[in-house]
């Protein structure tokens, strides 16, 4: 009882102008939705990939980000000396780091933006083996030099190799290197020597966070218990992966909710478009439908036939939108990360799941937009075949 698919495909092709217009409307919705989901995924991956399972980050109790936290130098030594922290020779594998935010002028756009600056020592590189200098060299200890993450390079005034920027008023720092870190959020940071940063910002004697490499991921719970049971310290420990997950949560959620909302409102318009197209198509094909009914096709067959046609139409739009959104994969997008109040550069990350969701959404639009017209088609009397 199934009317052949070629009937629907060719009917759509015959009305190609209206088919194309409707499909483009649906493509736009799918493009917006999948772009938003791809960006949200990009945020999650960028912020999330900075974390390692066997690294713990210690912050002042109650702090939700490094920027808000402060840990005294003596506490840093205590944390690094705790059981469960891996030792590289005599030295425990740990790094006390300072994070500040400075305002820099954007290039290619007006205004200033916040940039995260991380004060690090040699230990930071040991803790992050993926960090690699891709141009120039590392900043020398104690020198007014900086390395910029590859995603920031050239996006702000002074942030390119050989250029300089003001770390603080009248404290110029020269960029001597560019680094990458496998796509992590560190690539949107500027790294300088920790002591240079502390002296510039009057932060001597404390750091923002302490990172330690544990003997194994399983050592974390015992390490945390040790850190948090010592009430004198007033510190808390998190797995680095969990910390970054939390950092990305707000921004990622914001983007996907905003994108989905925009896509939802667009989809209402596109569905009405699909509905109109199907209504017009059905009105023009009353005799065809009547003939099918006269030949013996049931109402259900006709309903299904026109639902399939609406779904084919919306799938064509959905596929177009999904393909267009793939082109966004090469686009980089910078925005303020709500957790660190500094600009982070994200990529649109396409995934098979996102493409599948986009196609399912377009199919749903076809079903919803095509249902009422299909019901009308199914109600066509076989007597319509006899009308001239």
């Amino acid at each position: 009882m199934i009317i052949p698919l070629r009937y629907n495909l060719r009917s759509l092709f015959v009305r190609r102008a209206t088919t194309a217009a409707t499909a483009i409307g649906i493509a736009l919705v799918v493009f917006v939705l999948s772009s938003a989901l791809m960006l949200s995924e990009g945020v999650r991956r960028t912020l999330g990939s900075a974390g390692k399972a066997d690294v713990a980050i210690v912050l002042r109790k109650g702090s939700s980000a490094e920027l808000e936290s402060g840990v005294e130098d003596p506490q840093v030594a205590l944390v690094k000396a705790m059981p469960g922290v891996r030792r590289a020779g005599a030295e425990p594998a740990g790094s006390g780091e300072v994070v500040v935010v400075i305002a820099l002028e954007k290039l290619g756009a007006s205004g200033v933006t916040n940039v995260g600056v991380r004060g690090v020592l040699e230990a930071a590189f040991t803790l992050r083996p993926d960090v690699r200098v891709v141009a120039g060299r590392r900043a020398a200890p104690g020198a007014d030099e900086a390395m910029v993450g590859i995603r920031l390079r050239g996006r702000m005034k002074g942030l390119d190799l050989g250029q300089s920027f003001e770390l603080k008023k009248n404290r110029p720092v020269q960029v001597v290197g560019v680094f990458d870190d496998g796509g992590s959020a560190h690539e949107s940071e500027v790294w300088v020597d920790r002591e240079v940063l502390r002296s510039s910002f009057g932060r001597e004697g404390s750091v923002s966070s302490v990172r330690v490499r544990l003997d194994s991921p399983a050592s974390f719970e015992a390490f945390r218990a040790n850190v948090e049971q010592d009430k004198r310290l007033g510190l808390m420990a998190q797995r680095e992966t969990a910390y970054y997950e939390k950092q990305s949560e707000g921004t990622s959620l914001f983007i996907s909710v905003l994108g989905s909302l925009v896509a939802f409102f667009f989809s209402l318009g596109a569905m009405i478009g699909a509905m109109n197209t199907m209504y017009a198509s059905i009105a023009n094909r009353q005799r065809e439908i009547g003939t099918m009914r006269a030949l013996g096709f049931s109402r259900t067959s006709i309903l299904f036939c026109f639902l399939v046609e609406a779904v084919l139409l919306s799938l064509a739009g959905g596929a177009l939108g999904a393909v267009l959104s793939l082109a966004m994969g090469s686009v980089r997008f910078s925005m303020i990360n709500f957790a660190s109040f500094s600009e982070v550069v994200f990529r649109f990350e396409p995934t098979p799941q996102i493409l599948a969701v986009s196609l399912v959404v377009s199919m749903a639009m076809g079903v919803l937009g095509g249902f009422l017209p299909a019901v009308r088609a199914a109600r066509t009397s076989p007597l319509a075949a006899m009308r001239g």
Partner: protein, 232 residues
């Protein structure tokens, strides 16, 4: 003029006391009034009458496209006047071949795909469907037009495709609504000759509504309707 039915032949269509009313603007319009009719198996009969006489309504009732307000319609021993919509659709798909004035082919399907359409309602396999559709097209003389779309055919050829579609399920009854109404004289003659052949050679029972006296002359029997009644 209604010609007397040959009582010795087997009756395929038996209609008794059929009435059809329509409600129009709060008024009841009687389209058909207490009609009786017998049509023999294997005959080619015509229904004539002025516009609004009820001939197409009667054809619709016989074809199972509509139901009478009262009276009985029996086709091939089966009462169809009491069937529900779904049962009627199924019955049509097995028993009736339709030939319409405007051919009513699916413009997006080729000739052979159009002819295959009614077979989709049967359990026939795809390869067999295609074979039967091709045979039907050969019967109507369109073996060389199987892959043509309706827009690539003349009116007469379109109507012959429609006739192939009507006969492909091997129905007991062919109903034709003004089958020559949109055709030139030559094409009309060809179509009528084909219908005549289907009746004589394949034993099909054909009931045809027509305005055209020349078309009605090709039928073995003509029933005249006027204001919902057969004219004596």
């Amino acid at each position: 003029m209604t010609t007397n039915v040959d009582r010795t032949a087997e009756v395929l269509i038996r209609i008794r006391g059929v009435t059809k009313d329509y409600a129009r603007g709060g008024e009841v319009v009687k389209v058909l009034e207490a009609l009786d009719l017998d049509v023999n198996r294997g005959s080619f009969e015509a229904l004539m009458g002025p516009s609004g006489s009820g001939k197409t309504t009667l054809l619709n009732l016989i074809a199972g496209l509509d139901s009478p307000t009262s009276g009985t319609i029996e086709i091939d021993g089966q009462r169809i006047d009491r069937m529900g919509e779904g049962a009627l659709a199924k019955w049509r798909s097995n028993h009736v071949g339709f030939i319409f004035q405007s051919y009513n082919l699916m413009p997006v399907l080729t000739a052979v795909e159009n002819v295959e359409l009614p077979l989709l309602l049967t359990p026939v396999r795809a390869s067999e469907r295609r074979k039967r559709a091709e045979t039907a097209l050969r019967v109507v003389g369109l073996a060389d037009r199987m892959s043509h779309y309706p827009r690539q055919l003349s009116g007469g050829q379109e109507q012959r495709v429609a006739i192939a579609r009507a006969i492909v399920i091997d129905p007991v009854l062919l109903v034709a609504d003004e089958p020559t109404g949109d055709l030139d004289r030559q094409s009309a003659d060809d179509v009528l000759t084909l219908l005549d052949r289907l009746c004589k050679e394949m034993g099909k029972t054909i009931l045809m509504v027509t305005h055209d006296p020349a078309a009605a002359d090709r039928a073995s029997l003509t029933h005249h309707l006027d204001k919902g009644r057969f004219r004596a």
